[in-house]
Assembly symmetry: C2
Homo-oligomer: 222 residues x 2
DNA sequence: TAGATGACTATACGATCGTATCTTTTTATG
DNA sequence: CATAAAAAGATACGATCGTATAGTCATCTA
């Protein structure tokens, strides 16, 4: 009979219509982020969510719809979790010290390691034009780019970042941080060191901040 | 009857055993880089190479073998093409000027835009552990990482790059450069500007070098 | 209590996938 | 020209894919 523990009639109310529905969404986000759109099947997602394949197709009529909803779910999770990482580095409280940039970068990197889904989902669709990419651009990326640029410009106004082209700087910083997470499985195998660890992250951020605040050793003897 | 124009008996010699074989390899590299391993099928590759599906399976017995050989092919192309981009920036001819770092970065970025296959193939397999990733690590990435680190250290010895952790700096530079290529389709849609253009690349490299050589605007008034 | 609604399940269809086997054509060599 | 090997093509198989449809069961409402 198995255990019928988490029965929970839910009386149809709650936030999400069904508890199993959001469990499927979470599993779908994991599988999509890991295997990509083409490599993902209803069967795999159903297995990961421990439900029948028919149920997946019942809640989300098509694979495309399921993908869209799981993307929405991931971005929502991101927007809920990210502020908690950034609140201790608030840029607009007048406390201008350079240490804040280090903390900002570190928190973003740590967040990316803790929630790799949205980065992986982004890269899964980024490299190749497709209707899905167009949808993501209109739905999320335009907004994300604008927000990122605003953060950079705010930091620049407070002399926390060098006053170069904000969009370029956003790309360079995003690249330097996100790249580390995306090639982490490679780095781990090549270097024999887990990139997702306090000391590795601290060292990496330290190097990055050292560059951002003017590389001393090259400016010193020139 | 169609056109039997490119008949070319090849007399079996040439470099590759068959001319159609390498045509399949090139097509396979394209499709694998674009769609990933799971999203790629024999049929798609055959169609891209304008041959029958059976022929693909004849030359490369399995999908895994075809993938491996196409990876080898791409890395070989890369190693043949890359020196032509770097030769005009040779680091070890005693000509130590800072302009050389800019040229080095620019050439690497330009090369990546011209030959996006190897970057995309890398990212296709990088984010998720798999037997294919293990194989790539042992076959290519360990060597690539070592070479990259050596280049960084050489530049550091000549005071062309700040003397921070070489592996971290390699990751930061790789990330900043490769990220741009990987999210180019996104950037193009969001910014309405093609990242693969002289002026965009120049501007981006300029910003990057500005950081590498000590951000002036922040060090100036501190 | 009868009916309607929503959550969930079972099953089947057509297409495509990777692979295996077989036949035909082309090429090289005696 | 004869013959063997290699290249190229044709076909079929089991499996899995996305999707469609019909059915079961519990809950809610009139």
């Amino acid at each position: 009979m198995k255990t019928a523990d988490q029965k929970m009639p839910t009386t149809h109310g709650e936030d999400e219509s069904s508890s199993r529905r959001s469990k499927i969404l979470a599993a779908a986000a994991d599988v999509f982020a890991q295997q990509g759109f083409d490599g993902t099947s209803f069967g795999t997602i159903a297995q990961a969510a421990d439900v029948k394949k028919s149920l997946v197709q019942y809640h989300f009529k098509s694979k495309e719809k399921l993908w869209q909803e799981s993307i929405h779910w991931v971005w929502k999770q991101r927007d809920q979790a990210l502020p908690k990482y950034l609140q201790r580095t608030s840029l607009n409280d007048g406390n201008n010290n350079a240490q804040m940039v280090r903390e900002l970068c570190k928190q973003i990197l740590q967040f990316t390691f803790d929630h790799p889904q949205w980065v992986k989902l982004m890269f899964q669709e980024a490299s190749t034009p497709s209707p899905r990419l167009d949808w993501m651009v209109e739905t999320f990326f335009k907004k994300d780019f604008a927000n990122g640029k605003a953060v950079i410009e705010l930091a620049q106004q407070q002399n926390l970042l060098p006053k170069v082209d904000a969009m370029d700087l956003l790309h360079i910083l995003s690249g330097a941080l996100i790249y580390l997470v995306n090639v982490a499985p490679i780095s781990q195998r090549v270097l024999g060191e887990n990139p997702n660890s306090e000391q590795y992250i601290d060292r990496h951020i330290n190097t990055l901040v050292c560059l951002l605040q003017g590389a001393p050793s090259i400016t010193a003897n020139s």
